[in-house]
Symmetry: D4
Subunit: 229 residues, 8 copies
């Protein structure tokens, strides 16, 4: 394609430049990051994406964003816990990835981030399962699930506080493991920094890490892996 | 396997507990992290690994570690730039991964980390290629290589200073992208923290990150991905 | 001028020392930083500036400051998004700078900071244009605007999250580039610190940086440059 | 005792105030922290302690401190790895604590800190055992030693990098667990800060923490616990 | 016990994995950390714990958590200051620890953390006393209580701002001292970091430290010590 | 005095230990730090101080503290801007210090901290004057006041943002200069850390520094200096 | 130009991708950042640049780099203090910028950074002057040079420690001011972070900042400004 | 004095601007900060100061600076421990301050900083005494010296590690207390940051603080106080 061809795929609004070339480079449409945008901006972008591709995914949707999207797109799936809204194509698509994306959480308080990951992974055409509250302080909770861990094609591990769970999971499996630190904790957890550093310094080899609370990014990375030809 | 079976796979030295169960859980032997070990400890561990599996990989090998390993294992491959030593099995193994691991560096000063990644990835049975000195300040250097980027199964992007390269690469390809911040820079680069933060906050979706200067970890993660069944 | 002459140009209120010597040293009046001041203090300072120079500019104006200024100066221009209020002289002045100040933003969420810059630059007698939502994750959005970038006399680049945009822009043009990190992001963006560090470590040479969210300062710097004789 | 009585127990040198009241308040003599002291200062303090109590313990002893102490006190036990020197009383004392102090290390590189702890704990009249290189990346190495863990009266866990080991140990036993972060690691381990934060945020309840590399302090705390009447 | 036996002790809810094996490994049931859980999740977990063991302890209980627990368990003890709720077994248990746990606070503003510690220690079967507002700026307040300090089996010292109190207490007694930094302070106290660092660097030997504001953890550690056989 | 005499001067409330020995050691009564205390606790402490000494000073008094104190002590002086309440003795005392305490502020937004300092200094029996809004960006505002600066016995300089003012003041006078960083600013001011670091690194010799926003502490230090015999 | 044309301007060495398109985009050749490169790599890059453009500039040249360059290019100008090597074209070029670039330093210890800036600015075709050791602690040293400051087209201010000088300079002139923090200082200067933060928070409007010790970057920015058409 | 008069008092060397106006503004000559200066620069500055005032003081003098100064000024007093050189006037001057400057150190390792303070204070015409190794871990060492503390006009307290000593000293005396954090410690002492934060957050009121290891600055501040008219 020429530069002019690509330029024609960019739709300029007064407040945004929508990139309709992205499905070709990335395999999926742009995703709407709601934070810092007004509800009406979010709705307008969603409308353009639906017009172009028949679906949208909106993350970090606060209650006013969620209300505006629900009002405009009544059939959208609104996940309150994960603060994420997905309008699936009609008819819905089947998973196209190679295997299962397993989302493991250390504690109940990590569920919002895990839900963001789960909804994103499914929207990006992956089969998803969850394994919840298996943190390392009671290690037998995890070890009794070793078989489930070994069935997954990609594992996303979501943990706050000490962030130690990915190191143990990474040592139990051969599959790719993506660690997501969460801001769960207090004091010297520093809003998730403690868990982030733990994961970056994991003594298990080959663990990769995304930003604090970035369930979306973990799922996007898992989907890149799971759709590797 | 029973707990007792596993216990028998652990070989206790006075200063280390060698884990010969790891090939079954991880797909490869333990790797020797030389930092903080004496040369004779490193050599002894290498001997046990060779006895058990016919090969070893030793990272963060300073000159005294490298000398000791070279003396004891004359046929080992010693990579001075990457501070890494590999004794390949005899006869050497062929790559078993699904595709190509491409290692992209932003600048010449990032090469030591890239070499650590390259030697590791090859030792873990992957096909490896390199693309060097294509940082974003002269963006056409990268764009002229777009086809090469799109041929890779997994891309490792190594960058210091502003750490901006993975964001651009991530936007050009669908493949998994692993970002490695390096400690190249000065002043407010804070030994690689600036690049690390850039990568954790990448505006390209689905980029994952490893520790600063952790070429080994990036390659181990790439190999997990590339050997996904 | 003697020290006594200068002392006479300082107007002492109970809570402020207004510096009417500043137009001679800086080329423009004092600007009101509203944060930490009461609305009535802000209005009183504005009155004194209007009395002395026929105009005022008030930044970081929260809603109560904006209300108070709008009530007292109905003809003032109140920019809600940029939290900035400008009372232009009557009749309005023409731009006096040498060329165009172009304000480039990485994403929609960066617009508040960009608007603060735009209003300030215009108040300081510069011609202003905007280029919005051209972040590096979809690099062709930016590259298709290369000609526009090269027409500018000074470029202000506003970006949060990874803050990578100024490095790419800096490599495309010869003009001065002022980078403004924003607090857009979450987790390890640390309120804009990640973007700030990226910009300070830019691999493009000759990029300068201002404080996080400091659209005002960037515009003031651009105006210094654009009015260079 | 009166204040005057206590004052008589303080021996003033030109560069130090030796506190011979400490055995009564703390149960043992002052310990010499060599860092920042000259070898001759260290020797002089050691002489005064021997004169008063027949023994001394010197930590953070660099090679010049160790040489000076070895020359003056040929019968002292010099531990090179732990950089610690102990002159035991003659005849040696038996352990007086209630049970076993077990020192567990995550990796071989953590041994210097573990040795500082071991020598200190023994000098403070405790029975000591070691369990080495049982980090969480190969969790079965640790689990196969659960019985040994449960026999200890106090456990000191020494770990660098991700610092995850104390969380797992803490969940396996009822005994007090003291976590010692080490500076083993690189990049975002920040000289042991990552491990320190992991331990402070442990999801296992009732883990306490000492300073980075503070094997001495961990052993002193273990001895306080083990000598609880 | 076999792995299957242990697996049967784990009760899986949709949002949590309750670990009924914990009384055997830890000596007490799981404790509910309310932060990040909904009130109904907290109540449901409490019900399961009561069903299994006849009691529960819930920390970091905000007003909505406290209301929900009070409504469901009218006989529970709700400590508003310490944000902690305890349902004691019926009939109540006697302390089983070896001696007294003394909780010392530097200032009145540290009381919420001290109360969390006091309620936890009592729930874990320890005898508890308090000594309040004896910070080091008026050192005679503390010194006049030296005898009380020396009667304790374990001392928890709670302090914010400069966090200096544990160093002085540690020098006065032989008993184990657990230091709890609090977030009391402003400016460069950095939410308790200043006190945390003071305590980690204590010049008194054998002081151990828990996370900022972690009264619960300090009491759990004290109980481990106090129940040492 | 004996220890018993001192112990009798400590008045134990359930939540505080009032130190009536302090006037002898410090030259003035305890000051009430309201933050983290309930209004009724503050009132009760105030009552005890009035009973003992006829006056009180309460800092960091939020609106509920101020209301409670105003209701109980109608003649107290309540300074809203400085969040500080003083009940002066009746009849009021004269300043007893050697000279003038001059409080200099860089900008209008720094006034709350300056007021806390001014009320405190006066309560501690010092003569106080103010010089407002003379920050270094318009250096002639300060230079025109050089004579006023040189008349002071002690100077307190209050500044946020770049915190540069104390360096210039310190170079103009021989008197003691106490620098108070304020949290005025945004972005990389990090809540006053930038100003704090500037002041700690002042190139003017002999500048001392207190905590961020600590107007009280600066005044207490100034009073120690001004009452030096 | 087409993408193919640009690709032909990139010269691929085994360790670098030389960008001969840069003179068209940036107005000057690539500059060699020696740090992390071997002397022979530096020499080889220099040779290619000389072949293409007749000159080179090499920054952060340690003694081994300087020796190698001096040996290969005897006519190069080697500035030891600034660790910078320039081979000027033959015959040398005249300054082409619009006015004077003035480099102001706070103290003698800041000279190495100032020299890096001075050599760079001259190499980039600007007229350069220096004003040395005029820090704010003796403010009259600076004020006596006000006329010199006002004659400059662009001012680079180099300062460590408190970094206060740019704020004062910025208030005295209308010209663009680029602030360069240096790592001069100790303790809480944190290697230049204190000065960096001071400059980012300058109360003078329109000051821009570069990385710590980045004399090169400041000069490159000044040259962009000074060559603005 | 006119600006021209002052300008004549500034002596311009190629690398420094000597400020001979400083005795009038500050009460003493400029002091030479050797760090970052060459020995010959230091000697030349010393020569000019001797020519103007008959004495000099040079701080942070490394061994090469000390050698050069000793060679040129054989009668200078070279303090190796404090890295400080003083050439006293001939005949020496008597102390002119109002009382005694007492320098208190927490431990032997803090002596280098204390010596810098002691030599500086004496050079600035103050009577000086020392009290060494009285840290808070053995509080009776300090309490037995209460009378000595109360005799001082100004107290400088030098402490590393936990930095707790100034809080206790401040509570015992009415005199001004200047706290000097030192870089003594390891791990989470962060080069003195822990002690610095402790001191900034002191619960004793009216403690002021200087930079880490800044014995010079503490003495300069003490001298300002002690020479207050």
């Amino acid at each position: 394609m020429t530069t002019d061809d690509v330029a024609r795929l960019i739709e300029r609004l007064s407040f945004a430049s929508l990139d309709h070339f992205r499905p070709q480079t990335q395999g999926h449409q742009e995703v709407i990051f709601c934070s810092g945008k007004t509800p009406s901006q979010v709705v307008e972008i969603a409308e353009r994406l639906v017009a172009a591709g028949g679906e949208f995914l909106a993350t970090r949707a606060e209650s006013d964003h969620r209300e505006a999207l629900r009002a405009r797109f009544p059939s959208a799936d609104v996940n309150e816990l994960g603060r994420i809204v997905h309008l699936a194509p009609d008819p819905p698509t089947e998973p196209t990835g190679r295997g299962l994306v397993l989302i493991v959480t250390a504690g109940t308080s990590d569920l919002p981030v895990a839900e963001e990951a789960a909804v994103t992974a499914r929207a990006l055409r992956n089969q998803v399962e969850r394994l919840t509250d298996v943190g390392v302080a009671g290690i037998h909770r995890l070890l009794s699930q070793t078989d489930a861990l070994r069935r997954a094609a990609v594992i996303i591990v979501v943990a706050g506080m000490d962030g130690a769970l990915p190191s143990v999971v990474g040592g139990l499996v051969r599959a790719p493991v993506i660690a997501v630190p969460t801001s769960v904790g207090y004091g010297a957890s520093f809003g998730g920094v403690a868990a982030l550093l733990t994961m970056l310094n994991s003594c298990a080899s080959g663990i990769t890490v995304v930003n604090i609370d970035n369930g979306f990014g973990a799922a996007a990375a898992a989907s890149r892996i799971n759709h590797q030809p």
